[in-house]
């Protein structure tokens, strides 16, 4: 890679003639995203749908964005997309004796749900407790990775995700 100094990130990649958008797509709950390279002059979203044989009712989101994508994709060379049949997922978070819920796009990350859950619109935890908080699937022994999108955790056809908020220190394994 060309070494970059002083914020210049505009160097041209040796295998990129500037015509393509490179795209990673999470779909069907698969652990590894699909890698696509699509001509930017094409209808990018249509090309993604065709390449992955997505059904017409599948939404395409950009990672960590609320609104499904539509129309042309401009000014991008790299995209991370989430394909999911649900427009919104209802996340129910259980903590002590309470359960709260909110709707999130499947492209939102566990980290964003956690921020909401510990914040003033959620359980309104004090700062020290909030710093320890994690989300965990019921019965699991490790917290959810915070960079995972919640769409990966909800199979196609379902639109509810139940998680527990825990302040457990996982130093005991």
């Amino acid at each position: 890679m060309t070494q970059v100094k002083d914020g210049d990130t505009s160097e041209k990649k040796p295998d990129d003639d500037g015509k393509n958008i490179r795209i990673e797509v999470e779909h069907d709950g698969k652990a590894e995203p699909a890698d696509l390279k699509i001509d930017r002059d094409d209808d990018v979203l249509a090309a993604v749908r065709k390449a992955l044989a997505l059904e017409p009712d599948v939404f395409l989101f950009e990672r960590d964005k609320d609104e499904p994508l539509s129309g042309p994709i401009k000014g991008r060379k790299a995209l991370r997309l989430i394909a999911h049949k649900s427009r919104l997922i209802t996340v129910q978070v259980r903590y002590e004796h309470r359960t709260i819920e909110e709707k999130f796009a499947p492209s939102r990350t566990v980290f964003r749900v956690l921020e909401w859950a510990v914040g003033k619109k959620g359980f309104h935890l004090d700062a020290t407790s909030a710093a320890k908080a994690n989300l965990i699937l019921p019965g699991a022994d490790a917290p959810l990775p915070r960079d995972a999108t919640i769409g990966r955790l909800v199979p196609a056809g379902e639109h509810v995700l139940v998680v527990d908020l825990t302040l457990q220190d996982f130093t005991n394994g």
Binding site: M1, Q3, V4, K5, D6, G7, T9, K13, R22, I23, E24, D35, E62, R63, D64, R76, K77, A78, L79, R80, F111, R112, E115, W116, G119, K120, A127, T128, A130, A131, A142, P143, P145, R146, D147, F170, T171, N172, G173
Partner: protein, 167 residues
């Protein structure tokens, strides 16, 4: 470097920096490269509060020799003074804890870096690699794992600043 392995670590890091997931983070405004001269990588990370009402920016220096077999050394970075700034005395507890001054277990005269299990010197501290595998570095992880951890710190800081401004 002369041992024949250094080329491999730089090639791997270069490939990660050219990957879709890293470049998408740049285009999304989450992070940018300020300086890259292997093994040093200086990045600017911009986090946001959950409602996107507030942003906070932090600069970090990553030392990536031995990547990905060896965890990255990471510290907060002052790009003008080219040194680590003093640890913050205000902010959310998670950020204060991550950026506190502490010294390596292996050399008590050296600053240990960001106090999180994925970071080079912290990995061996308190047996964290074994006890916190979900936060530990593994050689099959991608550089964006580190970038997402830094993004979380900047976002926690943004949320804290937003709450303070609203109070």
């Amino acid at each position: 470097m002369a041992d024949g392995h250094a080329a491999g670590d730089q090639m791997t890091l270069d490939a990660h920096l050219e990957s879709v997931r890293f470049l998408a983070g740049v285009e999304e405004g989450r992070w940018q490269i300020l300086h890259y001269a292997f093994p040093e990588l200086v990045v600017r990370v911009t986090g946001s509060a959950v409602d996107d009402s507030w942003q906070s920016t932090m600069d970090f220096q990553l030392i990536c020799d031995g990547f990905p077999a060896k965890p990255v050394f990471a510290q907060r970075w002052d790009t003008v003074a080219r040194t680590r700034p003093p640890p913050p005395d205000q902010g959310p507890p998670g950020v204060i804890d991550a950026l506190k001054t502490w010294n390596c277990d292996s050399d008590s005269s050296l600053y240990g870096g960001i106090y999180r299990p994925w970071q080079r010197h912290a990995a061996a501290h308190n047996n964290w690699t074994t006890l916190r595998p979900h936060l530990a570095w593994r050689r099959d992880r991608h550089l964006t794992f580190v970038m997402e951890q830094l993004y979380e710190l900047a976002s926690e800081q943004a949320a804290w600043e937003a709450a303070r401004a609203a109070a």
